[in-house]
């Protein structure tokens, strides 16, 4: 169920279908995923591949970035022809800033987790939202630390019970609200099971010249399964007790949930929990900043998960342009371009004498 193969278009003829720039879907693929079967993250991977293929993105012009976590592993599973950097836990936003400084012409696709961005990386998350990089920043949000086996993250639901029995007393941090508040120019929330909406918003986000933040609800099928969790597996109870084995990971099918604009639906996730998704309506204008703010507030009060493109600022200047950085990537500047003349040094020396 690796992202690379799952969504391949039906091979009608023997010649592979190609996109605008003559590449086939395969050219956008990555290595085989090593995530759990049914993990929401793999669905997102597949949609990133689709979106890049559909848009005719040149993979050589993309840099893939991530922190550490199951989600952060995924850049290895798409765009093999792009340089990738799986860095350290929580610091991806800083790495991305540096990459952009070195090469302002790169499009960056970054994948992070809720633990990576909302816990250890919160400081960097906040600050990168204020820097308009040419960056698609995806948080694959499952409310837990998947890779370290299920501790709650800062986006976990209030009232959830931890394995240890602790009840999570905190409201979840809403990363979209934060991004919006901090001036990010493109803010959307998506659900990993809704592929149509995902593909179109990811396409828009890649096409956007600026920092596009996507908070994608991506259920962890393995670690929201202890009793008392608001996302506990319905059947992992009572006479199903043998499943409570150390280190046993049952396999689930991913939940699909295609929704139309404006639609609101309560769904049951593969893990038995209920959430209410509300897709933004077609006539909602995401470029109206005040309206966007109101939508976020409203959804929060009514405990609904608003999906779709919440806010977009169509006219935002990229940080590197604000900083008047030369168009040639700094990485490619030659000695001639970066070493002032001998006379300059002489002048400076004379001034100091």
């Amino acid at each position: 169920m690796a992202g690379t193969t799952e969504a391949a278009p039906p091979a009608e003829s023997k010649q592979p279908q190609v996109n605008l720039i003559g590449l086939s879907k395969k050219d956008y693929g990555g290595l085989k995923s090593t995530l759990c079967i049914g993990c929401g993250h793999d669905l997102i991977t597949a949609r990133i591949i689709d979106a890049c293929y559909n848009l005719g993105v040149r993979p050589e012009n993309v840099a893939k970035l991530s922190g550490i976590g199951c989600s952060s592993k995924t850049p290895a599973y798409f765009l093999n022809r792009s340089h990738g950097f799986n860095s350290v836990h929580g610091r991806m936003p800083a790495i991305a800033t540096g990459v952009q400084m070195a090469n302002k012409n790169l499009k960056m696709i970054a994948v992070s987790g809720d633990g990576d961005s909302a816990n250890i990386g919160m400081g960097h998350f906040v600050h990168v939202m204020r820097r308009n990089l040419n960056l698609l920043y995806i948080v694959e949000n499952n409310g837990v630390y998947g890779l370290t086996k299920g501790q709650f993250s800062a986006t976990a639901d209030k009232g959830s019970k931890q394995k240890s029995g602790n009840v999570n007393p905190n409201e979840p941090i809403d990363l979209c609200e934060m991004a919006y508040m901090l001036g990010c120019g493109f803010v959307a929330r998506l659900f990993a099971g809704n592929s149509k909406q995902m593909t179109s918003v990811i396409e828009a986000a890649i096409a956007y010249k600026g920092l596009a933040f996507l908070d994608i609800i991506s259920p962890c099928v393995t670690f929201n399964n202890h009793e008392g969790s608001t996302k506990s597996f319905a059947y992992a109870k009572g006479n199903e007790e043998p499943l409570h084995d150390i280190g046993f990971v049952p396999a689930y099918d991913p939940t699909y949930m295609e929704m139309d604009h404006g639609e609101e639906r309560e769904i049951t996730l593969s893990d038995g929990s209920h959430i209410t998704l509300k897709a933004l309506s077609k006539d909602f204008d995401p470029s109206d900043r005040v309206a966007a703010g109101n939508q976020i507030m409203e959804a929060k009060h009514s405990k609904k998960i608003l999906t779709g493109l919440i806010y977009v600022n169509p006219k935002s200047e990229l940080l590197m342009d604000q900083m008047q950085v030369i168009d040639t990537p700094l990485s490619l500047l030659t000695e001639k371009e970066t070493r002032p003349a001998e006379s300059v040094l002489k002048q400076i020396m004379d001034d100091l004498a």
Binding site: S82, F85, N86, S87, A102, H127, Q324, T338, M349
Partner: protein, 630 residues
């Protein structure tokens, strides 16, 4: 008006061009310009000088001391105790006077009531507060201008050329002609008053020399900044911290002047990061993507960067960190100096890591080593440290003029599109093709379908794919050791001063002048000749090993409590372990020659080698041969 009070034994022998000032003021009172005018005025007379600022970690009001050493022989290390004390700060005046050495010259405002103290000193009270009324009609400016009065007083007393001082004032306030106009009368008035009212009874005076003609005065941080600007540094991320902030600030200033194209486009990017981890993360990203990337910080920043530095080491990302060290541990003394982060830098991060580091001793080296560090980082594909300190970074150093870099900028092993075409896309990021432990890399954005590879801080194969295999891990780590050995051949070699002694003294960084001054004192006054080795880099090159091999005893002189460099030497070069002695200094102030001399003598006396050494010494010179300083 007043003349010198109750005369202490008057000095009869004249002391020319060899004494030191300490000027005590309050922080934020604007004395810096006056002190710089004094310093630069002396410099313009052709006399070697150095200026060291002992300032508090505070913005306004606490005591601060500026010391100026005037030394005809060019020794510009810190002087032990000042000969002349200018007390402008009521808060510290009593203590300043109490701590004066016997016979010191004391210049102070006559209202401070110090005249009864220390009859063993030479007193020159001056009515600064009254004089400033005449010197400066603008009430608001008086607090500032009062400082220029002591410059004038010193000019008269110690024969510091008025012309030089005025020229210094003009170059100091080049862009502010009105400020020059406001301050000039104060110098003149101070000088006039002193000439007319003070009877000079001290021995100190200046005479023009010609020892500064090819020199400049500059702070080390500005020198490093210049070195970066002239050596293709393109990406800078930083977080403010004393004493490093002025490095990136002046770097940005310089680049905005000299690294902008005619169309206004810049050939650099500077970002003030949210913290040090982010600053280091940014240059990691920038170095990975092909920029010549740089940050500066101080001890606490290095500590915070630890994890990122390990990523740089293991994922093999080039970037340069300049650690302008201050006194630690912890927040320590933010405005005092130390060579205390040796271990912290060299072995930064968890796991098996060793980092390349260079140790500049003076502004000229700071300038040159900035370029060397950028080159080494890209050649070795690894983080490289410049180990500076507050003394070098923030104080005013007399330095040789910097030479325009002629060699090409070294970008290391990078495969571009054309290279990949020639290779038919066959390459592996971490393959040791050349046997030097260094692989070839490509930059993101390279337009070739096989250009991409995946970078990670986890275990990986030569092809840069994820691996947990024991053999892959070990092989990769062993290659990194090979790379480290390659580094030994590329880093700056030590500066060795060989006089054929069996006693060696090894040191590095800002202790240079004090150590060499001490060596000359030991030779001239105590008859002990010592060979010197000034380390300039880690890892230790063969020349360092040879120096250790060839000497019976090697003193390692450094400014920290734990003898950190000595520890590193013992750890890395076991054979030298037992011959190492330590000369340590760690109170936050720069080292003086006096400390080296007395520490050396105290230990040397008890040294079993001592007699043997002395014997060898007498025959050594001809036998071993004096190679001189190389």
């Amino acid at each position: 008006m007043t003349t010198a009070t109750a005369a202490p034994p008057q000095n009869t022998t004249k002391v020319v061009n060899d004494f030191s000032f300490s000027i005590a003021t309050a922080n934020g009172s604007g004395s810096q310009t006056a002190n710089m005018v004094l310093l630069r005025g002396l410099f313009k007379m052709g006399i070697p000088v150095s200026g060291k600022n002992m300032f508090p970690s505070n913005i306004q009001g606490l005591p601060t001391w500026f010391t100026i050493r005037v030394n005809k022989d060019g020794w510009i290390g810190r002087a032990t105790t000042p000969d002349i004390i200018v007390c402008m700060n009521p808060e510290s005046a009593v203590e300043d006077v109490e701590n004066a050495r016997k016979g010191a010259v004391l210049i102070y405002d006559d209202s401070l009531g110090l005249s009864k103290m220390r009859p063993d000193c030479i007193h020159y009270p001056v009515p600064f507060k009254k004089l400033v009324v005449d010197a400066c009609p603008d009430l608001k400016l008086r607090k500032l201008v009062i400082n220029m009065l002591y410059v004038g007083v010193c000019s008269a007393l110690f024969n510091i050329s008025e012309e030089s001082l005025v020229a210094a004032l003009e170059s100091q306030l080049k862009t502010k002609p009105k400020a020059v106009l406001a301050n000039k009368p104060a110098i003149q008035l101070g000088r006039k008053w002193a000439l007319e009212n003070i009877k000079k009874v001290d021995a100190f005076s200046c005479e023009p020399l010609n020892k500064t003609s090819n020199k400049i005065i500059i702070e080390g941080n500005a020198a490093t900044a210049l070195g970066l600007m002239f050596n293709g540094c393109t990406a800078v991320a930083w977080y403010p911290i004393t004493p490093s902030s002025s490095l990136c600030e002046s770097l940005e200033d310089y680049m905005r002047d000299y690294r902008v194209n005619p169309d206004g486009k810049r050939t650099f990017a500077v970002v003030q990061a949210e913290d040090e981890i982010a600053a280091c993360g940014m240059i990691t990203g920038a170095g990975w993507a092909g920029a010549r990337a740089f940050t500066s910080t101080s001890g606490p920043g290095v500590s915070l960067m630890n994890e990122m530095i390990g990523l740089g080491y293991f994922a093999e990302i080039p970037f340069v960190i300049c650690n302008v060290a201050r006194t630690g541990p912890s927040t320590g003394l933010p405005t005092r100096t130390m060579q205390g982060d040796i271990i912290s830098v060299i072995y930064a991060s968890h796991g098996d890591t060793k980092h390349v580091a260079v140790f500049p001793s003076n502004p000229k080296e700071a300038f040159e080593m900035a370029g060397i560090a950028l080159d080494l980082a890209e050649q070795l594909q690894t983080p490289v440290f410049i180990n500076s300190d507050l003394d070098l970074g923030m104080n005013y150093w007399m330095s040789d003029r910097f030479d325009y870099p002629t060699g090409p900028i070294k970008r290391g092993k990078v495969l571009h599109k054309e290279d990949l075409e020639k290779l038919k896309g066959q390459w592996a990021r971490y393959k040791d093709v050349d046997g030097d432990g260094i692989g070839y890399r490509t930059l993101p954005g390279t337009d070739h379908p096989n250009a991409a590879y995946f970078t990670r801080g986890t275990g990986h194969t030569e092809q840069a794919t994820y691996s947990e295999k024991a053999t892959d891990w070990k092989k990769n780590m062993d290659r990194l050791t090979r790379k480290f050995n390659t580094a030994k051949t590329l880093v700056p070699k030590p500066v060795i001063e060989n006089k054929g002694s069996t006693i060696g003294l090894l040191y590095f960084g800002t202790t240079d002048s004090s150590v060499r001054e001490a060596a000359s004192i030991l030779e001239q006054q105590h008859g002990v000749r010592i060979d010197l080795c000034r380390l300039r880099a880690f890892p230790f090159s063969k020349e360092v090993e040879d120096f250790l091999d060839k000497h019976a005893v090697v003193y390692v002189c450094e400014m920290n409590r734990d003898a950190q460099m000595a520890m590193v030497i013992r750890a890395e070069l076991p054979n030298a372990a037992t011959k190492i002695r330590s000369i340590l200094h760690y109170d936050g102030l720069p080292l003086t020659a006096g400390v080296v001399v007395s520490e050396f003598l105290a230990q040397h006396k008890n040294e079993p080698h001592s007699t043997a050494v002395a014997q060898q010494l007498s025959q050594a010179t001809s036998a071993v041969g004096s190679k001189g300083r190389d």
